[in-house]
């Protein structure tokens, strides 16, 4: 098998008496679409937060593309090629959709140029292309605070995608979106990920979404990975069906 893209070794973290990362040893390989499932409080978002530098573990290491990123800041991790979207979309609410993409693109170099206009951070055609991919081109010049939740999610993801990451980590990309819109949203996201050949991790509660879009599933229970493998195998596991899916 190819060299792992993301690897965690012995990750440990507890908030008071609540263990949220219990010796997590995990590897992700290029091209995989990993769904992370688990009940609330199982440690899914904490795992993402550790991998993206938002929280530092009390023990263990995280390496990306062969380099240790455990103690790096979110900014440094983003610049190494990990993009991230959030459960609650994190947008620049006083900016337009286009400006959000331009500002995100400026992060490719990380340089805060004081004389280069924002619209020169990225060619206009590239902004149009990414907005076309996520279906937001028609709303490019609207304030992003005016977008409905589904489109906010897409913009949040588009802002991560414009950084051209090797790995995109999405925290509940379909939460807050109506059941009817979920599959359409995931279809758009997966089409873009395929087109740009980006490896992905997404936290998800909807079993249908997991079954349809993931190539691998990791199920979290009380801060540890209780099962990890192909979706059919993990979702058929009695412990997972009882403790994660709630049957």
């Amino acid at each position: 098998m190819s060299q792992s893209l993301l690897k965690t070794t012995g990750l440990q973290l507890a908030f008071g008496g609540l263990v949220v990362a219990d010796n997590i040893n995990f590897e992700l390989h290029p091209g995989e679409r990993l769904a992370v499932i688990g009940q609330n409080g199982a440690g899914k978002t904490t795992f993402i937060n550790i991998c993206t530098g938002f929280i530092r573990p009390s023990g263990g290491t995280v390496s990306f593309d062969g380099r240790d990123i455990t103690r790096l800041s979110p900014r440094a991790i983003v610049q190494r090629g990990i993009g991230r979207s959030f459960q609650l979309p994190q947008l620049f609410l006083e900016h337009t959709v286009r400006e959000c993409i331009q500002l995100a693109a400026a992060g490719r170099t990380g340089r805060l140029r004081i004389w280069t206009p924002l619209d020169r951070a990225i060619p206009a055609t590239e902004v149009d292309h990414i907005l076309e991919l996520v279906g937001l081109r028609a709303r490019a010049d609207e304030l992003c605070s005016l977008l409905p939740e589904g489109q906010r999610k897409l913009l949040d993801i588009a802002m991560a995608l414009v950084l051209q990451p090797k790995l995109l980590i999405m925290d509940e990309p379909t939460s807050g979106v109506s059941t009817d819109e979920k599959h359409g949203l995931m279809a758009i996201i997966m089409r873009v990920l395929d087109e740009q050949k980006i490896t992905s991790i997404f936290v998800e509660h909807d079993v249908d979404i997991v079954t349809q879009y993931a190539t691998r599933v990791a199920a979290w229970i009380s801060g540890r990975i209780a099962a990890d493998g192909p979706p059919q195998e993990v979702l058929a596991n009695p412990e997972i069906r009882r403790n994660v899916i709630g049957e």
Binding site: R75, V78, E99, L112, R113, W115, L118, L143, L163
Partner: protein, 319 residues
């Protein structure tokens, strides 16, 4: 509803307001020469307010920025005393550079804080400077301050009237250039990142841009502008005192920024002009109660024009 930042830059109302302000600032003192001093003071305050409004656009309020004006004023006074042959233009540049360098150093520390902590740290630092200037009498002249002999301007030694006229023209030209420069900066990657500090710092970090660095750049620019303001003020008054850095002066700069509105650089000068004239006339007409008049103006503004006077220029006509 749509919005683009470029539309603000090209708004015809803003251009008209800018041209009227310039004509007003240069024209009226030609008719009534006594207006030269208030006009230079208003323009100088406007430049300081322009600096503070940069920080307000990042969601941060500084209640201590007069320290940069004050320190730059003292830098100009000390230098002019040590080298009396130095020209006013050089002294203005020196004051600006001093403000910028001071902003670079203090900024390294204060940009790590936000909101009330940012505001209070700036206030505290300004009060430390105020105390030092007041206590070290042998060096700073204490509360009496330091007098400046009138230096040459562009190599020419002038009488008071000529000096004030030149300073007024220079101040207005600088104000126009700085308003354009600050608007250009606000449209830049660094400027837009600065406004994003206000709305979503977390996301800014997750697109690979440093929120602290964006704020530091804005802080240094604002300190430089306050330094320039202090240098001009010192040359105009021919005197620097610790009062220039007192917290009330910082509050006045914030007042002017809010009065004029922070949506466009024109607001800072609009606010400074209104502030200076309301203060001038209310001090003459309501001696001892002029602060109350200013207070009522601010209350009225918050209720009726929360976006400041320049906000009126952006207000959309009802369809």
């Amino acid at each position: 509803m749509t919005k683009t930042t470029t539309s603000k830059m090209t708004s015809p109302k803003i251009k008209i307001a800018g041209v009227l302000l310039v004509l007003f600032a240069l024209g009226l003192p030609m008719i009534w020469p006594w207006l030269k001093t208030p006009m230079v003071v208003a323009t100088s305050f406007g430049i300081a307010a322009l600096g503070v409004s940069i920080l307000i656009r990042s969601g941060q309020l500084s209640f201590g920025h007069a320290m940069f004006s004050c320190a730059a004023g003292y830098a100009v006074a000390f230098t002019a005393r040590a080298m009396p042959e130095l020209d006013s233009a050089v002294l203005i540049l020196l004051g600006t550079a001093f403000g910028a360098v001071m902003g670079m150093v203090i900024g390294l520390f204060v940009v790590r804080y936000r909101a009330i902590f940012f505001g209070m740290l700036n206030l505290a630092l300004s009060m430390v400077l105020f105390s030092i200037l007041g206590k070290f009498y042998s060096l700073t002249g204490g509360t009496d301050g330091i007098r400046l002999a009138r230096p040459t301007f562009f190599g020419v030694r002038m009488e008071r009237d000529g000096f004030e006229t030149t300073l007024l023209v220079v101040a207005v030209v600088l104000a126009v250039a700085l308003a354009w420069g600050v608007q250009r900066y606000m449209m830049s990657i660094a400027g837009q990142a600065l406004t994003a500090v206000k709305t979503n710092e977390t996301r800014l970090e997750y697109v690979g841009l440093s929120a602290n660095r964006a704020l530091w750049i804005g802080y240094v620019i604002s300190a430089a502008l306050c330094g320039l303001s202090g240098a001009m003020f010192a040359l105009m008054q021919g005197l620097v005192t610790p009062e220039m850095g007192y917290w009330v002066r910082s509050g006045e700069i914030v007042f002017i920024s809010i009065l004029g509105g922070v949506g466009h650089p024109v607001g800072a000068f609009l606010g400074a002009l209104v502030f200076e004239f309301v203060k001038l006339y209310s001090a003459a007409l309501f001696t001892g109660a002029w602060q109350m008049v200013l207070g009522f103006v601010l209350i009225g503004l918050v209720f009726f024009v929360p976006t400041g006077l320049s906000g009126l220029l952006f207000r959309k006509e009802p369809k």
